[in-house]
């Protein structure tokens, strides 16, 4: 599939698409989304969703920037990861305590996190608010450190799915919560773990995003939602291909294909609306073809 899209766009736009340099750029862009996609896999496979991913990326990145002013790289890394994970714990806790659908809980949290992010920006007096000022602190925005960071995240995901109970239990809960419960799986506990892991990976994505963009802008009015969807596309690939094995390669390749299509259409000067249309349609076609439901089965 990757080769098909590369050949197609290369033939249509040989001068603007698909050189080795450009392919490296596409890969670098896609890996940050793939890291978020790995995190989302833990809850999407259980039938849950989290709208606060984008808001958490913004807030965690800003906390990372704030801490980097005092502690350099350690502040940036720990700020992003700890803030992300803490928010994940909070989301998981609220979801299990409030006993209302994850979509509703996380929309509320998204609004709260956006507000907190706007407040966090006002605390940043040491430089341009939200901007990573020192050139020495941008290593995660370029090779090799972005690859190392994302690679470690993918390895961690692979390890969690293959070598811990978490992967098995998340899949079991997604397949049939009642049977999983009867088999002794602590469903509420693993849903909580799912949220924590999602936002740990979101923390890593925030680290990459803030490094790529050399800073982070706080937004309001649910604008952070925009950041949810690119990682989610990779997750859909992962879920669609999970029956063929472990989903990490599917998430990474899926994100790469999406980024490649997006850039291919840009190279062809296709307007943004058409670009979104084609990207969405390709996603639907691929997921539909790989994930056909049984006739009469209820699909939600």
């Amino acid at each position: 599939m990757t080769l098909f899209f590369w050949v197609s766009f290369r033939l249509l736009s040989p001068s603007n698409f698909g050189s080795s340099r450009q392919m490296v750029d596409y890969l670098q862009t896609s890996i940050q989304y793939a890291v978020g996609g790995c995190g989302l896999y833990f809850i999407v496979v259980m039938g849950l969703f989290d709208f606060s991913v984008g808001a958490n990326i913004v807030l965690s990145a800003l906390v990372g920037v704030l801490l980097s002013r005092h502690f350099g790289y350690w502040g940036l890394i720990l700020g992003c990861l700890l803030c992300g994970t803490l928010i994940g714990s909070f989301n998981g806790l609220l979801y299990s305590r409030l006993r209302i659908p994850s979509m509703i809980v996380t929309v509320g949290l998204m609004l709260i996190l956006e507000s907190v992010a706007n407040y966090a920006v006002t605390l940043d007096k040491a430089g341009f608010p939200g901007k990573l000022s020192s050139g020495n602190i941008l290593a995660f925005g370029r090779a090799p450190w972005n690859y190392i960071c994302a690679g470690l995240a993918f390895l961690l995901m692979f390890f969690l799915l293959r070598s811990t109970k978490i992967g098995t239990y998340c899949n079991a809960i997604g397949s049939d919560e009642l049977i999983a419960k009867n088999m002794g799986v602590n469903v509420e506990h693993y849903k909580f773990i799912g949220f924590v892991l999602l936002h740990f990976f979101v923390g890593i994505m925030a680290l990459l995003s803030v490094s790529y963009g050399r800073g982070m802008l706080a937004v309001t009015g649910m604008a952070s939602m925009d950041r949810n969807f690119k990682p989610l596309m990779g997750t859909f690939f992962g879920v669609a291909f999970k029956k063929y094995g472990y989903p990490v390669p599917a998430i990474v390749i899926g994100e790469f294909i999406i980024v490649m299509i997006f850039n291919g259409l840009v190279a062809l000067n296709v307007p943004t609306t058409i670009n979104d249309f084609v990207t969405g349609a390709v996603l639907l076609i691929i997921v539909t073809l790989t994930n056909r439901g049984r006739k009469g089965s209820v699909v939600k």
């Binding site: 496979v45 070598s163 098995t168 899949n171 397949s175 049939d176 009867n182 002794g184 799986v185």
Partner: protein
């Protein structure tokens, strides 16, 4: 020392007002295969589900080797040495074969938080090979295997730890001849190891051949326990269903003629894997009963008539020539359907009585696509009161109603729609005697008004008591037809059912 390994003492299990298991005291001996039989709804599966921790016990207790057993999950029951192979699919897609076999038991392969997947796969493969299922690969996703192979995997999962008690709940229907042989080998192995198998099946010959003793349940209560070597299929059938027709709330007329006018013609209707070449006619003002064992195809017949079956062939034609092909078409042309699975297929539990009653009639009540709330309220109230639904008001959620009142809401909905043909699948399932009497009275009244009813039921008394004509289905086909007759008895129906 006593030979009794497991004992139930005055065991009861209730779901709301429905008593599924009623005061059952039973003993199971070491090294025996103990058959458990009864009609659908007699409480066999519920009894075993409480044993295995799937449902909590309402009252009474189980004693395993004289120690109380009160499992809260299947894994807890497994740890006490009790295991079950269930009727439905008991494996989870999206996991490997090995993950399914050891689900809930991963700690055996954990070192800290790290799971040794290789060791788990090797151990699962060793078990599969030991059972003779070498073609099943432990590391493969379970989705790659057929229904039968997945049942075989369940057998391994349920027995690899050599349980003291193994429950085999209606598993043989999912297996081919060779699959059954494999299962019987496993059962014999458990028996020869001094442990016990509880074997549930509707195939009485199979039960007699493969068990030492047989207990019969009826309406949730224990009827008798007999030695298999001294039992015959005929005697067991009588114990299962042989009751006198004593209840007074059924129809008492036996000489009413039914109109010749055909309102529904079912011709060569087949649904893959469910029913084959079913044909019959329904007349105006007729109550047509359809009976048989649960999996005989009768429930699918109801769906097929209503246009709710997938892959249906053949034709369902209404008076006037309309051919039913979809649910909206059926409803528009006066066909109503109440499913056996009330909570999932008939009522919207998380919605009000008003909305549930009005739903199919919204088009009739709207004017220029606008709905008048006062009109909807009046419509819902009138039909709910007609059926004497016990409620605090029409805004009450259906989830708060008892099973019987939910059924009344379903019937109110179709009465409001003024449907001419009612397909009622198990209309009195799980409801009390008073509501049963109400529903029977309503059916008689509808018949008087010229409405036609297809009543699908696993209750023989109900079929005999209410139907003008009875069709008995077996293995997806119509196997017998009986006209209403004072001398017709359950034994006549049973001969065509089993």
């Amino acid at each position: 020392m006593s030979d009794v390994i497991l004992r139930s003492e005055n065991l009861c299990k209730r779901f709301g007002i429905t008593t599924a298991v009623n005061d059952v005291s039973l003993e199971f001996e070491k090294g025996e295969i103990h058959g458990l039989i009864g009609e659908n709804g007699s409480g066999k599966s519920t009894f075993c589900s409480t044993l295995c921790g799937i449902y909590p016990v309402t009252s009474g207790r189980f004693l395993l080797e004289e120690k109380e057993l009160r499992a809260r999950s299947q894994v807890e029951a497994n740890r006490r040495g009790v295991s079950i192979i269930v009727q439905e699919m008991g494996t989870l897609p999206g996991l490997t074969v090995a993950e399914n076999i050891f689900l809930g038991e991963e700690d055996k392969f954990m070192r800290g938080i790290v799971k040794n997947t290789g060791a788990m796969n090797r151990e699962a493969q060793r078990l599969l090979d030991g059972y003779g299922f070498k073609r099943i690969i432990a590391s493969k996703m379970i989705d790659n295997y057929s229904f039968e192979d997945r049942k075989l995997i369940e057998i391994v999962k349920a027995t690899y730890f050599n349980p003291k008690i193994l429950v085999v709940d209606e598993t043989t229907t999912a297996l081919s001849r060779s699959g059954r042989e494999e299962l019987f080998k496993v059962m014999d192995r458990i028996k020869s190891g001094g442990n016990t198998v509880i074997f549930i099946s509707h195939d009485l010959d199979e039960v007699i051949d493969h068990t030492d003793r047989i207990s019969v349940l009826r309406d949730g209560g224990l009827v008798d326990t007999v030695k298999s070597s001294e039992a015959s299929a005929g005697e067991l059938k009588l114990l299962m269903v042989g009751r006198e027709l004593t209840n007074r709330y059924y129809r008492t007329d036996y000489d009413q003629s039914v109109s010749d006018e055909v309102v529904l013609a079912v011709d060569n209707v087949s649904v893959p894997g469910e029913m084959q070449n079913v044909s019959f006619r329904l007349h105006k003002g007729e109550i047509l009963g359809i009976g048989g064992l649960s999996e005989c195809g009768m429930h699918e017949t109801g769906k097929a008539i209503f246009g709710a079956s997938y892959g249906r062939s053949g034709s369902v034609t209404l008076k006037g020539g309309y051919s039913v092909k979809s649910i909206p078409g059926a409803i528009r042309h006066g066909v109503a359907y109440a499913s056996k699975d009330r909570d999932n297929e008939s009522v919207i539990v998380a919605d009000s009585i008003r909305d549930n009653i009005c739903l199919p009639s919204l088009d009739d009540m709207s004017k220029h696509a606008l709905l008048n709330n006062r009109k909807l309220d009046g419509f819902a109230r009138k039909n709910a009161e007609l059926m004497s639904v016990k409620m605090t008001g029409i805004d009450q959620y259906v989830s708060a109603l008892s099973g019987g009142n939910k059924q009344k809401v379903v019937i109110s909905r179709w009465l409001g729609k003024d449907s001419d043909i009612l397909v009622l699948d198990s209309p009195t399932r799980g409801i009390d005697v008073k509501v049963k009497a109400d529903i029977y009275a309503l059916m008689s009244e509808l018949k008087e008004r010229g409405k036609s009813i297809i009543m699908i039921s696993e209750e023989l008394q109900e079929l005999l008591g209410m139907s003008d004509r009875i069709l008995i289905m077996k293995d997806g086909r119509i196997n017998g037809e009986f006209m209403r007759n004072r001398n017709l008895g359950e034994r006549d129906l049973i001969t065509k059912m089993v």
